[in-house]
């Protein structure tokens, strides 16, 4: 029986996914098995399989009313993926929103404005949006940060 094997460097991650029996005989079958299990995955340009996982650390950790307080001050996993969503859609977003400030929330552009003050007015009711400026010019990706 095949198990999932990856180049994962984290011992914790490896210990979690290695024992999962998939019955898969090929990489394609392993990827299908991950889809079946609801595991988010992608393959890097170097051929490394990356998966996203959550591990239960403590059930009933806090009462629900306290959980609501904690959740109000901490971004949920969906919100923390906004940067990922932005990067994957950056080319299209640059075409549509180039030269504008945007607010990303829940994997959507929820507001856009020509200036940051104008955008701030539009986002007062949003919980921790990701705000950024979309350049209209080409973006330089190699840098030593000086202007």
């Amino acid at each position: 029986m095949n198990s999932i094997k990856t180049h994962a460097q984290s011992q914790g991650l490896e210990s979690i996914i290695s024992p999962i029996p998939t019955g898969a005989k090929s990489t394609e079958q392993i990827l299908k098995a991950l889809d079946k299990f609801g595991v988010e995955w992608y393959v890097t340009g170097e051929g490394t399989l990356m998966i996203k996982y959550w591990q239960v650390a403590a059930e009933d950790f806090v009462p629900q009313e306290k959980a609501a307080i904690i959740r109000a001050t901490r971004p949920s996993p969906e919100e923390s993926d906004e940067l990922d969503w932005l990067s994957k859609n950056l080319e299209n977003i640059c075409q549509v929103y180039g030269g504008q400030w945007v607010a990303v929330h829940g994997n959507n552009i929820v507001a856009a404005a020509a200036s940051l003050p104008d955008l701030m007015i539009l986002i007062t009711d949003l919980e921790r949006p990701f705000i950024t400026f979309i350049p209209s010019d080409s973006i330089v990706w190699t840098f030593a940060y000086a202007s």
């Binding site: 340009g45 940067l83 977003i93 940051l116 986002i123 921790r128 990701f130 350049p135 202007s147």
Partner: protein
């Protein structure tokens, strides 16, 4: 050699540039409490070479400032040029790795990039944490108990 323990590990952010080349960025998400008391997410490039956490000058309205250059003027040597540039320093509150930190923040003119807003620098913030940087595995290890 003493062993160091870390409770958190964050993978670098992977991005494919228009040419298809993979770029790994050690980005750290922080929450900034704006002048309107609205928390917003910012993404900062982890940078041990930055003395002070530095944000793009264009973000000044979010901080309740009338202009980017009304704070304490400081001269900053940058890695990409021999020239020293001006930055303007303020103190603001960031939430980072489950901690709330009042720290100096420089505003400085920087090239635009939609995926990060500036540099996560050492002053004050690095004292609150311990870091392990693993380029080969694209991982940033963090302890909140340095």
């Amino acid at each position: 050699m003493p062993a160091k323990n870390f409770e958190h590990v964050f993978r670098f952010f992977q991005f494919q540039d228009p040419s298809g080349q993979s770029i790994w960025l050690p980005l750290v998400e922080v929450t900034l409490i704006t002048s309107q008391n609205t928390p917003v997410l910012l993404s900062l490039l982890f940078d041990t070479g930055a003395t002070v956490t530095t944000l793009r000058a264009e973000l000044y309205p979010m901080l309740g400032l009338q202009s980017w250059d009304q704070g304490q003027r400081v001269s900053v040597a940058t890695a990409g040029t021999v020239a020293v540039v001006d930055a303007y320093q303020y103190t603001f509150t960031l939430e980072i790795f489950d901690k709330t930190v009042d720290c100096p923040i420089n505003l400085m003119q920087m090239p635009p990039n939609p995926l990060y807003h500036g540099l996560l620098g050492r002053d004050t913030i690095f004292n609150k944490f311990g870091f392990g940087f693993w380029e080969s595995t694209h991982e940033l290890f963090v302890t909140t108990f340095p």
